[in-house]
Symmetry: D3
Subunit: 247 residues, 6 copies
Amino acid sequence: MTEKPEIPSVLNDSLIAALNTISTATLTHQLQMRGVRSTFMSGLKPLHPEKRMVGRARTLRYVALREDLQAQYAGGVNAQKRVVESIEPGDVLVIEARGVPDAGTIGDIYATRLFGRGGSGVVTDGALRDTPAIADIGGPVYHQASHGSTYGRQHMPFSADEPVTCAGVFVAPGDVIVGDGEGAVVIPAALVEEVVANSLIQEEREAFALEMVASGQPTLDLFPLAKERLPEFEAWKSAKASAGAKS
Amino acid sequence: MTEKPEIPSVLNDSLIAALNTISTATLTHQLQMRGVRSTFMSGLKPLHPEKRMVGRARTLRYVALREDLQAQYAGGVNAQKRVVESIEPGDVLVIEARGVPDAGTIGDIYATRLFGRGGSGVVTDGALRDTPAIADIGGPVYHQASHGSTYGRQHMPFSADEPVTCAGVFVAPGDVIVGDGEGAVVIPAALVEEVVANSLIQEEREAFALEMVASGQPTLDLFPLAKERLPEFEAWKSAKASAGAKS
Amino acid sequence: MTEKPEIPSVLNDSLIAALNTISTATLTHQLQMRGVRSTFMSGLKPLHPEKRMVGRARTLRYVALREDLQAQYAGGVNAQKRVVESIEPGDVLVIEARGVPDAGTIGDIYATRLFGRGGSGVVTDGALRDTPAIADIGGPVYHQASHGSTYGRQHMPFSADEPVTCAGVFVAPGDVIVGDGEGAVVIPAALVEEVVANSLIQEEREAFALEMVASGQPTLDLFPLAKERLPEFEAWKSAKASAGAKS
Amino acid sequence: MTEKPEIPSVLNDSLIAALNTISTATLTHQLQMRGVRSTFMSGLKPLHPEKRMVGRARTLRYVALREDLQAQYAGGVNAQKRVVESIEPGDVLVIEARGVPDAGTIGDIYATRLFGRGGSGVVTDGALRDTPAIADIGGPVYHQASHGSTYGRQHMPFSADEPVTCAGVFVAPGDVIVGDGEGAVVIPAALVEEVVANSLIQEEREAFALEMVASGQPTLDLFPLAKERLPEFEAWKSAKASAGAKS
Amino acid sequence: MTEKPEIPSVLNDSLIAALNTISTATLTHQLQMRGVRSTFMSGLKPLHPEKRMVGRARTLRYVALREDLQAQYAGGVNAQKRVVESIEPGDVLVIEARGVPDAGTIGDIYATRLFGRGGSGVVTDGALRDTPAIADIGGPVYHQASHGSTYGRQHMPFSADEPVTCAGVFVAPGDVIVGDGEGAVVIPAALVEEVVANSLIQEEREAFALEMVASGQPTLDLFPLAKERLPEFEAWKSAKASAGAKS
Amino acid sequence: MTEKPEIPSVLNDSLIAALNTISTATLTHQLQMRGVRSTFMSGLKPLHPEKRMVGRARTLRYVALREDLQAQYAGGVNAQKRVVESIEPGDVLVIEARGVPDAGTIGDIYATRLFGRGGSGVVTDGALRDTPAIADIGGPVYHQASHGSTYGRQHMPFSADEPVTCAGVFVAPGDVIVGDGEGAVVIPAALVEEVVANSLIQEEREAFALEMVASGQPTLDLFPLAKERLPEFEAWKSAKASAGAKS
């Protein structure tokens, strides 16, 4: 009834493991440095700030309600049902709702199904419906608002697995979505390898800088890291590595 | 000094008990299905998401400050004092503040009095003042913002127990207000019995659907519930009922 | 490299001790009563609602990004670095970011340095970056949003320790900033002594009123406190004082 | 059917004549100087910037649509019909529509009736409907938006000739409304005489200042007018007066 | 290169002639009466309020800029070029720009081409670029803002002739767009015949009501038209008809 | 009393003559192509859309009102007076008002003085006061709103001739401001020569493209201009030049 989507995934276990250690701030910065400026989703709140989310983007686009077409778009096995019933393990559902705060875009039953199918999370720039029940499921969710009404108050489900603009960011199916307590960021599929590799380097330098600053040193030659201090950084890395090896 | 208000109440113990089990999402949906689309209050946050609130609407309307009239409207036993001092057990105070975020509409002393008189909660589309102290009282409160200033910065208390528009929803004294972790919804007094009865039916069907979906079934014939599965649903109900009877 | 700022401080231990007991609501009201109406910062959230913040204002002003000037303003030891590296114990950094929600204004490394130098807190009407890591530092922070991007997406650091407008409030270096679970308020340096003295009086009266109201009395002659009840209030104060003395 | 409203009018021919010569900016400033800060209606556009409007406030309050009450409030001789059919010569209809831009609040037929009864103008913080036809009537109208839908999309007419908040300003029936190309201002009924008298003085001084500035003089001792230049101003006034007498 | 679009048109000369006489307010009301509430485009301004626009919807959807995909979507014969170069006489281009005010969505060269191909108008919920030059072309245009930047500041052209949401209204290619001095309304293709027929009846009744009201009659039994006055209305119609016949 | 400002001007007669022929859209595009994306001032309206404005930026910064400092900042020869009284021929006053719509930032007397001293225009992201009188002066003005109140309702004049952020754009004294019917753009002083030279080339190509498109040709190889058509363009240029020479 709902067929397996033809969406290439660029993720593998090592990338997922790495992405689970990198902050959305670092990923956003790495994309900024490549001239990709709009990747962090603005104005969304994490339902579980302590959770992390990593997954492949699956998309759902809502359009404005027009009552004469409601049966056509909302009836039967609509786009919302199709995308939820074809979620695969590791998928993150990204919903375009035009930033409308006063109508639900997903409720507890579809959220239960999504996470039950192994989905990694949900991102909507509209409202959640049944927020308390969705929170109880425990999976990562990013949303703009909560509202008791169904989507039928403002929306019609229109398309599944086509590109959307969510919270100001363009998302194509297959892009990688990462979330933490700060929010959610979209990593273009084609840039994931490069962004992850460079993010790990950046985070190691920042870990060194943070440790030095926490110990009372000024930020001036630590952030960004000055050439003069690279040997010290290298030594710190080796020490950490051997310490890691020992333990 | 402040006389008992002549506000009919449609609530009774069984309705209150039922309403304490129904989500605001279900109530909002039942009203949507009756063509009443604007009943969930948009843009408000629960101060205690884990609390539930059920009660009869009592109303307070603020109007824009005009300094030449401040003594007349804010002085003496103004509308705010009148409504707070006539709160009866089970009342929810609904405050119209035109969505203004940068002036208080109720502070800790009035909130203490309101809950001390048995009030069930407070809903304001303006700001709370003394938010930490109000939070300590522990009663359910829904608000748009927090602000340290008194209402005198932007408002004058104008009328008590007359209809208001709060957070985009028309509320008449005597309407029923229900709140949970999602937010607050207004149930027109005349529709409460019908909405509650149908909500209980809806929630039982959704409980069945949710249990099936949680067990790994697709949503397709469960939400909405397909005719073919009604016998299964009835059997599930009976089983639950007898289980309930046994325990 | 970054010299000690010439910013007079009006705070002393007894003022700080007093300010740690006064709500931002009371301070805001005392300023309203003196005709100073815009002192509570609108639209900001506390990162740690349970924390209190008291300190001397230090300021950082961001201006809109103009790429042709980015190197000039953001490069080298820019205004952000200068102000963070000259933070003194008890300073609160107040950041003007024009209310822009979608670009960071301070991240975990600078926040670590700021609190490491003894800073008392941070207030920004823009976004935090690295919000989870900043939350872990544990110090009081007030912000409008969270965003993964660096300030370079929207801002250039422009000036340090010059007056700013933050969250709708004018702040001069040396003003006093107080924060609690409601938000943050600016007390003009020249008014601190007077505002604190009168706030203590107001809070004692409100403590009496609150105790009476909590015990079931009406608010009518308690808030504001009627002349007839002053003797009762004085007696209550003496009782409390001797009780305090005994213990 | 619709009885004559009991609304005292403070206007008389000489006040109206004077008000037709005073800018809304001067009237707003005179009210500011008396501590009444919110009197100019924010965010409204004049439909005929070249027209002036002076009249007594008549009011109409819309509340949020609730479909279960639509028949009760919108049906029959509703508040909109009552107020329009009781307009008297010189009345200005002020409509509270909560700043909602996407629903009409008055259309061409009611506007034709209002001006046909001698009404002086219309002010709404909602939308006009039939804007081109209303523009053709030619009378002064101030509005926030234009929209093709009827009020039934968002509103119910609720009350006539009771106080309202329109475009951020409190308006009581009987207040005086003045409009010009800048917008519309509310003059509290009790302050009209005083405000007009002082506005005439202010405008004469500003006319002198403007003439001097236009002739190339600096603003410094002209605006505000310095004591040293009062004799010159008095001479200018006398000259103008005798010139006026001669012609 | 750009093939003729397969878009059915429901318009014919008599419908177009009729639509050129009906106000957008009447059309919007007829749709409201059929339960279709969101058809008038909110928040747009006519560039030529005196012009009327009638045509078949052609659509262009912009998505948020993502620099890594700019070449792919904006380069070559992109969606904007395709739709403009396939405009047929009577088409109205409807642009979805997510309500973004600070980036152009169409400039003078494409607008010249569009009108040169016989297009009937342009509707965008984003900004015009080259507004003065577009105004000089003289054709009807509805827009939210004006901005000097190209779409590349915020947008990528994504699709042509697929459904869009513009200014809050769902528009499918082939729907009918009508504009006048009030704004623009979308008539679902399937409802055009019925809406036009009923609009003509409504406008005739309102013309009668308006004439009576203009002659000094109350609105009460004229708007809506009371049964008792139908004979009078019929007589008025016949009189007008014969008058029309004579002339 | 107010000394001549030390602000270098990069403008000369030929640059001014050229800038008077270039649209703000072309200038904004040339800056975009150089990576300077925020130069067109968003959300401002021209008071005289038919006028053009070219000049050197002079700046005035308003900060939020704080009543305890009003005398200090607004009294005496404040920043507003200083900048207006030191305007030189060709200066454009750019006012930072934090986008606040409901308080004046400049009125008719100061505007008269500014244009009387030879000023080229005014740009404010706040409100005009005395809009009708300012319109009568006839000089180019760009503003966000109109309001009858004086700046004292929300602002204090803070600094003159220091960098500001106006309508989202950073402006330094000495930058070049150009306005037309679309709005106003800021050209960084250091880029003016280059931007003007390239804008003239761009406009000539677009004039050719526009002429071809107006004559019925497709846009495809004209905008942008394809290499194959350069000879044709060169011929068109020569023809125009000799035609110009002849006349």
